[in-house]
Amino acid sequence: MQASRFGLLALSMWGLLSVGCTPDLPSQSGQVSVEPLHSQIVNDDYLLRVRLPPGYDSDPTRKYPLIVQLDPTFVGLHQFDITAGLVSEYAAQGRWPEAIVVGPDYPDPNTRLRDYVLPKPLTPSFSGKNVDLFYRVLKEEILPYVEQKYRIDSSQRILIGHSAGATAVYYITFRHAPPEAPLFSAAIAADNGIEEGFFTVERWHAERTNSLPMKLFTTRAFFNGAVQEITYRALVDRIRGRNYQGLSFAEETLDTDHGGAIRPSFEHGLEFIFGGGK
């Protein structure tokens, strides 16, 4: 467990270094605010970064898709800013709908490793810690809070995660258990190490149901090398082989490294989701 967490942290640090100086960020529109939310489940505070679209206050009847961006500000990778900026630019062009972007952040950014990693041992009852609990934080605390406070179309929830954040994306995707709908209608899992536990969680899902009514977009970075290529291909092939009912799935290998994969993963993924990808 320690080795996996260290690995995820190391992978993220090298991702930062590969980006180098401040990346070229898409320009944002709308308003951004930060508000605290205390979680009873993990007994800790979150800082919710919220981007509201321009003109949000002008139409009190309009509801917006929700994008939950994990790792909003981790190690200067600007993931929240990238997603909010992409939505701003593409919505202004009329190519995507406007959306509310929420980034659950932390006073200590390394807290992400508490929330995103798979618990050891994994149990089909999902009664462990780590992402078992974070799933409940999202479902029982963060989503109800933001959907009560802001005008959100709860049928259009999108989850985006990179690296360890993508671990949480895969887990949350495959935690779906009918008759409940998936927690998110779409998800982007951007470039992470594919542990054996991913295959376990996916297998448990397949044993419960043959449906997965959502859009899923995954990516890997070429320069992560052969280990990721082997495991990523195996997971992609397994997902495709299930022929899940209702699933729209696409994946892409990006000719870059771990840090360079962030923006194209988010951009291509949101294009797949908003652009009617099948």
Binding site: A3, S4, F6, G7, L8, A10, L11, W14, L17, S18, G20, G193, E196, F199, T200, R203, A221, F222, F223, N224, G225, A226, V227, E229, I230, T231, R233, A234, T256, D257, H258, G260
Partner: protein, 221 residues
Amino acid sequence: MSRALPIRKGSAAALCSVLCLTLSATGSAQEPSIGIPSGGAESGHPVHVRLDAAATYGIGGQSYLGIDLKMNGYMPIWNTRLATGTIDGGLVLAYGNGPTWLAPWIDPAQVEGATHHISLLVRIGHTFHMGSRRRASLGFHLFAGLHEWISSYSVLYANEGVSGSSTVKRSLLVSGGELDFAYRFSERVGLYLALSAPFPYQSSYAQTIFHAGAGLTFYLR
């Protein structure tokens, strides 16, 4: 035909003259000292030759250990009482191996293999040879050339029936800078230290962030 014959005779004569001058110059020129001599005074601009051999540690997507071999010619271009400056040029052959045991996040029960870095570079720069005996030297060099990145692994997730092996590779043009230090403790051998980093920066995974080396330098000429 008749006009070509005098031209050929003239060319042959000129060639012979050049050859004779060269031979006479070579014959009368002294062999340069091994390395920069004490005091730095030398006649002409002799080219000295040094072979640097260093064990290296580098870091990028993961750490690696390797070896650098650098063959350099260096020619004095200025001299003062306490230092001589040389202009340097040469070739670098480098290899780095990134095994799984240098990547603590990798479970060796599940993953086998390594990442390989192979470089063939051209290197130019300037070195300060310092001290009255010119034993210490500090060099600043730029390098550029070919870098081959190879990632070759096999994976086994036994509990989930996942297994496979793969090799991915990429050839890159790389460039960067290097700082090196040598201390000559005998006529032919010295201590060698180096620190280098690529720029412009491409990707830490393929090109690395920096590497450091320590070893010996051999004064050949």
